[in-house]
Symmetry: D2
Subunit: 415 residues, 4 copies
């Protein structure tokens, strides 16, 4: 071979469920399709159940295991901690890892509270001064169609942006007998549809428009307030079943979150996140209307981006159904010929590739913890508004802490 083997980037992953599987695939795959300056190595995975984590390590390709995430952080042979555990664990792990000089990739939402997120962002800001970087896993940004959407907005193809409509519609809680899992427990998950999937559309809307949400008016609702406990529910897509004697428990999170919003550049927005929209499987949708063009995306058709070009010839205007599989499109040239679509996990592979590139270059990967903190503040404002009669709630009203204010400035400098 003509060129030297790249140095390794040694990964330690915490958690090995749905997200762990997606991240493992990305770490195994990214350097097979992208020219990476560092080669990811699946060094170790941590989980509390020794047998289960060993089984997962074998299945997912990790070289070793730990039963305590602290052990991962103490290891010298690990460069990056990849946090795939539930939201209530993020802050402690991320802060410890950053202070130990490990890069961090943390799944979204960044944390379960703004306070935790602020602590994490402050730690990330501190670490960045030493060349140690943190990134939050809003992987949908790396779906080629959404990355293309952002590029087109940046290139001015939409003119002045006026309206945003964002939906994330799922239906796995339509079934009243779907069991009570950790995702329905506020202590573990922070919130329901709001933080789980609403966070994605908040991030996507801010990412694509390049603008931040400044205020919201919100409504939260839980349609099914008690659910069977202890079912063998696996993943999100399973069907529940409640027997007669099934013990029941309280759902402590929202099934649906809907809110209106304003962005700092002028647009207004409508947002809806729900896990009870029967028939919608993973309809993460974003539409942006500008003065010269409009864009529309639906993750159920993830290989397409709809673009209305107001400068097309009169009589020939209509949404272009762009199949985002051409060499001109972001990420796509590394994969298959035109027309051969990608799937859900590719966003994670692209995220891994971009993160590796940024780390090798010593630059801040995006979205930073500061970016993710902004999403967290929107989530908090939504909850605050919903609890206060839908009253208009500014997002920056949540950012009173000096840490937060300082962070924002600095994070922008870093970027």
């Amino acid at each position: 071979m003509t060129k030297a083997e790249p140095a390794p980037l040694r990964i330690g992953m915490v958690g090995y469920a749905f997200m762990g599987a997606a991240h493992s695939h990305a770490w195994r795959t990214a350097h097979r399709f992208f020219d990476l300056p560092l080669t990811p190595q699946l060094t170790a995975v941590a989980g509390r159940n020794a047998a289960a984590v060993e089984e997962a390590a074998a299945r997912m390709g990790w070289a070793s295991t730990e039963t305590d995430w602290r052990a991962l952080i103490e290891r010298d042979d690990i460069d990056l901690i990849d946090i795939c555990s539930p939201g209530n664990t993020h802050a402690e792990i991320a802060v410890a890892a950053l202070r130990a000089g490990k890069h961090v990739l943390c799944e979204k939402p960044l944390a379960n509270t703004v306070a935790e997120a602020e602590e994490m962002a402050a730690a990330a800001q501190e670490a960045a001064r030493n060349g140690v970087f943190a990134m939050c896993g809003y992987s949908y940004r790396r779906t080629p169609a959404l990355a293309l959407a952002k590029r087109m907005v940046d290139d001015g193809r939409l003119g002045k942006i006026r309206q945003v409509r964002a939906q994330y519609l799922q239906d796995w809680l339509s079934d009243e007998n779907a069991p009570l899992t950790w995702r329905l427990d506020r202590e573990v998950s922070g919130s329901g549809a709001l933080g789980d999937i609403g966070a994605h559309i908040i991030d996507a809307a801010q990412f694509v428009t390049g603008q931040q949400i400044t205020g919201v008016s919100a409504l939260l609702e839980t349609f099914t307030r008690r659910r069977p406990v202890g079912g063998d529910f696996v993943g999100l897509g399973g069907h529940g079943a409640a027997g007669e004697d099934q013990p029941m428990g309280d759902v402590s999170v929202d099934d649906a979150a809907i809110f209106t919003a304003r962005f700092d550049g002028g647009p207004i927005g409508v947002f809806e996140a729900t896990r009870a929209a029967l028939g919608r499987k993973n309809a993460m949708r974003l539409e942006v209307n500008g003065s010269q063009g409009s864009l529309a995306f639906d993750f159920e058709d993830m290989n397409f981006l709809q673009f209305y070009d107001g400068t097309d010839r009169p009589g020939e205007q209509g949404f272009h159904r762009i199949m985002v599989t051409e060499p001109e499109h972001p990420y796509v040239g590394n994969w298959w010929p035109t027309g051969h679509g990608l799937g859900y996990e590719h966003g994670f592979t692209h995220q891994a590739a971009d993160l590796v590139a940024a780390l090798a270059a010593g630059t801040q990967p995006a979205p930073s913890f500061a970016d993710a903190l902004q999403v967290q503040r929107v989530l908090a404002a939504v909850e605050e508004s919903a609890a206060d009669d839908s009253r208009w709630t500014p997002v920056d009203a949540n950012a009173h802490s000096a840490a937060g204010a300082a962070l924002k400035t600095t994070a922008e400098e870093i970027r």
Copy 2:
């Protein structure tokens, strides 16, 4: 011929613009495709400009003209007054007509204020006691796909309804140079996108679900606040052009209205009406999610209804794209063979047919003025909430007047 010629129903129409053309077509056409107990006759049309109203009468097939709507009401040879003039004229004409013993069909929105609408509903209630009936022209109800949606909800095909999302997206005000017409003047039109097209989705959502909106939290926005005056803008679809010396005027209505809502049967809803969503031409959309099924409609594909049946076999579930052109479907059997779609104006023809049938039977046609008043109250609550920091605003809080309260009970009895 074996059966006797039906008696005539003699129509007097006020106004002859876009809506007048649609109504005229309906009156000319309904008895050609539907077996009607009364045959509509285009007896007279009224407008202030004598030459213009004569030209319109010739083109649209009206037998005579008047230059004052009061003259129409005074004529003995007219049974029904059809009000197609702007919203600020509705109350006076409708009340006068009803008191003169004429049936009334009044275009939507019913009026520009709740007070006017209450007066109209009270007049309608009074007239109904004498067998004189009033109906409001929410013609989209008669789109076969929406009528089918209502039937399916009534038949329990959706189970318990949980969520509604309704949008009415147009783009004819995307162009900043589109001229200032009466539709942008609050004095004449009452409001902007809210009353013009938002009213349609409010009515449609309440009609299909069979439930009423009880409260809202809203945001209104005007993106383009000054527009050229005096352009030769015709219709909604034209393109504006502002010369250098073009005088400019203030837009006094909203370009977009977005709000969250609750319904009296439990569901939550998200509503958006805008005339600035570039690329969306007439996207009047309604989606209803229930515990057993979901329905989705888009007027841009008006001959289709999407139905997700949660009781379909596992593995075969997916939205049914029902082409609503079968003999089993509402209204359709009177037209063409299966698969031969209908157009925009058919809703007006169906409305005419249903109205004639109700009048011949001596029953209250729907939507009644009481129904339309309820929409008006939602519109008012939206404006009130938007003006008060998006605060949650109950719809029934607007119904304090004794007239209104009394009306509601009685209207239900009548229906």
Copy 3:
């Protein structure tokens, strides 16, 4: 009124079933939306059953009736004969009418045999010399989206055309118990799916491309060879039902016709007409691929035209979903505002408007009988090829008759 009332164009219509209803609507409606130089008058309708034709006349708005089409032709107060009866009657009526100096509008397909069609085209050529004109009712040409497609091809927006794929898919014969109607009787209808709906896609493909089919290789199939006789089947969309004792009869026409083709300008084509494609209600589809652009149309979405512009910016290419409801689009400006779609019958209204305009101008309306004869020759070549082992069959091989050859030259001169 400032301008003089236009002179009348007095219509006599033969037949009053599905096509008769569509034509009547067009004659009643065209001058209400289009500025016509002559005003159509529904003077008389002819049918053999006196009671039925009188009932139809009353319903459809015809001023008088005849029980013999010959009586229509003899009447002095009739200017145009509109032939809506089955295909086996076309030639005799049309030739007689033209010789009597009446203009003729004849439903498609022009005739049941090439010989009849040649006789009709010759009669039309002769009549044209005296200012009497004949037109064939390929009304789909007047669907705005297809008229736009033709304009775009003519404007060179597709570059060099390479491929055509045309389908006309229906499903009303999927049901094996659907009854044996005249449309399944070769003596009356000429052929099955081939002539009924295949003729439409042949005409549409030739119209949009501006090219003629020069040869074909074909396959015909009848899936259900015996069907119940005497059901009360009405229209195309009904469901059949065969009782145990139901008498059965032979189907003498094709259920499906599929063929490959070549056009005189170079493209190749694939055609399929079927009445047994379960789930497809009226999918009359045409796609044309050129070197610079492509167009796709489906009548089930008749208000849309898909256009792929190979000259759009790289990365932004994708089929434009043009909603053909803008003032720039053919016919549309006479109807409703942008986004308010048209229906099936509008094609007939546009056909009536264009025919009236041509007659008033003394020019040949299109499609002429010569154009329709060309379609007939393609139909004949398809049957000939199918009967001869799918052997390649030139279309012009059918045009040996001197009349035919002469006609072609002259017809082109006329046009």
Copy 4:
């Protein structure tokens, strides 16, 4: 870990271009998501250019390299030969590998001639007697939506099948300046669109219907007969560019192949394969119409299957848009939660998983070489018909050889 590590399946791959990348990914990934009885090992990859094959091995994860495929076959540490080189090399490699006792996975089309394919099928039949198996890489069969389609046909959900329409539309040869690559050279590739992509729809149609094509009538066309030589064209999706002095060469294969067909169970079919349908990127489409149901698939929307159920309630019938991402669907349960779509390469991973399972069980994997030979015979019949005036050409007329006849019987026994 509680269960023993599975034994390895040691792979030797020939070729490392587009298909090599897809196969490598599958071998690396299959056991990460599927419980496999043998663990694939990427033992060696062969290619003539030593530097290039080493670079590919490093990128794709192969442990060693060879510069002659014969060396692969001679190695004791290889269990399966995976043939990803052009079609003109398949027969020699496959036969040699099978005779050497190596299992074989061979990319499609099986060979460039029927004679070669017969030789390969005979060798496979012989090898199968010794427990050595061969499989052809028609990977689209393993797209979950197509696997579901087959299951639904097998379950009788369509009733009696009547019609098939299959298209494979691409556009990378629309550009007249796209360069002359090996895919346009008949000596190397065997044919053009016909063998490259037409083979896929032939296999898919036979696979889903469970029926074989018995005869065809065909037309082949080359739109661009000379193309620039020596461009740096990479992959299928690139854009060509011909300079003024660019040397030109002859295209020796078809750009488009269209044909009609009959299946042994009664249906008729229409097929079209083209690489010049501008705007269609990878539209591999299959529609099957039966007496009770219909199915439609388009690879551009690969995560969906359209199903029309003729037994749905009247008035609620319409194509179900099934998002094939539920645990009930083939292969899907091994991946992500419902609604999280898969991509192009997953078909290869599923193919690898099924092949490994069959080899471990000692059963014949499908499609066998006999199955692929049948496709080859259809391809040959298409070329024969096209060369003979589109004359109807039976497929079994090509199967005169005793080897072929014998094979068919035996292959069925094996399966």
